[in-house]
Symmetry: C2
Subunit: 193 residues, 2 copies
């Protein structure tokens, strides 16, 4: 069992994943972790669509590549070159190749849409951390779901269900080192701004 | 060092906190965990205001109680009675009494406001989990910051900084048992809705 701070301080976005299948037991375990996140009034508005079907993953990949080609690539030109290249590779093929796509949705019958974010993204973070804890690689992307009208038909989502994020899962191609982060002091204020 | 899944599966909202001071070292540790969350293009748009000043905590408490009295209490009437009573006690005094308030903000110069949520709430979740891991109690509330124009002056926040959530920290009054959650299967869909 990994230690808490090893997982949290070691979190990275894994864009290159092996095509090997991910055991159901691991997927269930990371989803259980997701459902232990807090939500407004404990309404638990999350819904998870676990996509393994290659045709659907391909369609999600195609939609994402189209969004990347149309605007994302230009928007992200300012990234450091290696970071940009990794994202470009992911958006144009890596995503579709990930063996599992977990689509995290919010149910607006259990939480008003304007308040979904604070009840959904903590669950996504649990999902990401738990994936790393069981040896999987993952990342969160909102690009595939940014055009809700284009995305919803791919999974047959009803109108009251909002796709909020996509988390690809798979075994990492290779382990990554620690993340680059600013020191805490660069973002810290005492008592007042 | 606690194990990862013990912390994640044991998360609860701690509303009753002891007035005892929280060591700086613990606050720094939980903030470091927060900064290891993912953010869009690693822009790290989070800013943390750590409030210990009793006058400012009192003002935050007053603002929150006012929002609760004006609308929150009525909105939450449908909660189970014990849950409602705990929230009512918290909103009308418990919050102000917590020895530390961590106000988590988003910097719109580093991330467009419409995209802040997916880059801020994962950091809040890390902050909550890390608090539990070091023996503190915490919870996330968006109620104190829902009226941004009323909240910002309390901390002197500039216009480009959006208060997103408040996390009170303190040592728990007593330990809480496991959280009540639906089974994963109640929120799970395979390949399509």
């Amino acid at each position: 069992m990994p230690e808490f701070f090893d997982v949290v301080l070691g979190q990275r976005a894994y864009r290159r994943l092996k095509p090997d299948p991910v055991p159901d037991e691991l997927v269930r375990r990371v989803l259980e972790a997701a459902t232990h996140a807090p939500s407004a009034e404990n309404h638990q508005p999350w819904e998870f669509v676990v996509v393994r079907d290659p045709a659907i993953r391909g369609a999600i990949g195609d939609l994402t590549r189209g969004l990347w080609d149309a605007a994302g690539r230009e928007h992200s030109r300012g990234l450091p070159p290696r970071f940009f290249a990794a994202v470009d590779e992911w958006a144009t093929g890596g995503l579709a190749a990930a063996p599992v796509h977990v689509v995290v949705c919010g149910d607006t019958t259990r939480c008003p849409e304007a308040q979904l974010a604070s009840s959904i993204f903590p669950a996504v973070q649990n999902l990401l951390l738990a994936s790393l804890a069981v040896g999987l690689g993952s990342l969160m992307s909102t690009l595939p779901v940014v055009n809700r009208d284009a995305f919803a038909p791919l999974l047959g989502l009803p109108a009251h269900v909002v796709p909020m994020a996509l988390v690809p899962l798979g075994f990492p191609d290779r382990p990554l080192g620690p993340a680059g982060r600013d020191p805490v002091e660069a973002h810290l204020h005492l008592d007042r701004w």
